[in-house]
């Protein structure tokens, strides 16, 4: 089962739910893979503390120009939709940070002066920790190519009973990149006006992607009932309510698993996992 933990609003508890759910499922003997696709600020590993990590460069294609072969015709710059090239005289200036690797320039160059090179936009990291396979992407600071790195983390999907993707917040390209390939989406929200506003937006995206989804209300009891009312009206299942409890925040701040730190939490996550597995079976049927 491919599960994506998403939310419109940041800071609602996606990572907390993703990590604790992954560990709860692992402890029940399931083969679990956790993919942290929040590549601008990956943090699942902070709670799992892997001892050894396998790191490699996340590479994207970029043009390499052989100056001697270039006659300055300008076709490369003309085809580039990302404005990553400029031609001055018979020399091509490349702005790699604007390149989306579409291949247009090296395909169109009549002199074959441009070839496909590569550059690193960040790291791809894999680790095994406590029976759980963790993978995450870490985008270099100042880099804007979020979706390609998410796609590379997503491609590390292997053989598992349960693959959990921790998505970036919001409803933009990066969140959508993290949702692709999922069978079921868990939208984490909080019972506040901000939580509701962004839940409405996120649920709309998930609906347009035609993915089944349910809602986890974190910090339940902290706000009001509008999220509950909206879910009921929209027919969205509330999968779990995590009570507003200072001990959860304290465990998070220490980098501990909520499962181990807060009495009763292990039961909540085990129930959530079973509900999700049941939805997966229903979805496949």
């Amino acid at each position: 089962m491919n599960l994506t933990i998403a939310s419109g609003k940041g800071g609602t508890g996606k990572t907390t739910v993703a990590v604790n759910l992954a560990v709860a499922a692992t402890r029940e003997g399931r083969r679990v893979q956790l993919l942290d696709c929040d590549v601008e600020e990956p943090n699942c590993h902070l709670f799992l503390e892997p001892e050894t990590e396998r790191r490699r460069d996340a590479l994207v294609p970029v043009p390499e120009v052989e100056e001697a072969a270039c006659n300055g015709c300008g076709e490369c710059a003309a085809i580039c939709r990302y404005n990553a090239l400029a031609v001055v005289g018979s020399s091509v200036m490349v702005f790699p940070e604007l390149c989306h690797g579409c291949a247009g320039c090296w395909l169109v160059c009549p002199e074959q002066a441009i070839t496909r090179g590569e550059r690193s936009i960040g790291d791809l990291v894999e680790a095994d920790v406590a029976g759980l396979r963790l993978a995450y992407g870490r985008l270099n600071v100042g880099e804007a190519l979020v979706p390609p790195l998410i796609a590379q983390v997503s491609a590390l999907r292997g053989d598992a009973d349960l693959t959990i993707v921790d998505a970036p917040p919001g409803t933009s390209c990066s969140a959508i990149a993290a949702l692709s390939g999922s069978d079921y989406v868990v939208l984490v929200t909080e019972p506040t006006p901000f939580g509701l506003n962004d839940l409405v937006l996120a649920a709309d995206v998930v609906r347009q992607l035609e993915l089944p989804c349910g809602v986890v209300i974190n910090r339940a009891g902290a706000g009001d009932d509008r999220v509950h009312d909206w879910c009921r009206r929209e027919g969205l299942e509330i999968l779990l309510e995590i009570p507003d409890d200072r001990r959860v925040a304290e465990a998070y701040a220490r980098g501990d698993l909520v499962l181990d730190a807060v009495p009763g939490a292990a039961d909540l996550y085990r129930d959530l996992m079973r509900t999700l597995m049941a939805r997966a079976v229903e979805g496949a049927a």
Binding site: Y82, A84, V87, S91, M93, E97, E143, A144
Partner: protein, 120 residues
């Protein structure tokens, strides 16, 4: 000498556009002949990114020797520099006033971009 001024409208009475990459248009002036014409920049106004680079490319293609504008970022500055086009930033008033200042020699050449890039 051929120079270009970023302009908010298509006439010499239009105000100088403070933006280089996303200027409304360029007015390219031949200071020897006293003629001018308007060069469109609509495509760069719509660009998601790299407007400065492509506006600089337009300047290169127009074979101008100097650009008069409000602000110029690092990428555009790099392209203009490679083409040895002089950049004058902080230019205000109408296009005609800017050209008069330029021909009077009272506009200093920028040695570096005067604003940050918008991208990285």
């Amino acid at each position: 000498m051929k120079i270009a001024v970023t302009a908010q409208g298509p006439t010499l009475e239009s105000d100088v556009d403070p933006r280089f990459g996303r200027t409304q248009c360029f007015i390219v002036i031949d200071t020897d002949k006293g003629t001018h014409r308007v060069v469109d920049n609509a495509q760069n106004l719509q660009a998601a990114q790299g407007a400065g680079i492509q506006a600089a490319q337009t300047m290169v293609d127009q074979s101008v020797e100097a650009v008069l504008t409000g602000n110029c970022g690092p990428k555009a500055f790099k392209v203009l520099g490679a083409a040895r086009i002089a950049v004058h930033v902080g230019v205000k008033g109408t296009v005609a006033e800017a050209v008069a200042e330029f021909t009077a020699g009272s506009l200093p050449t920028a040695a570096a971009p005067n604003v940050e890039g918008h991208w990285s």
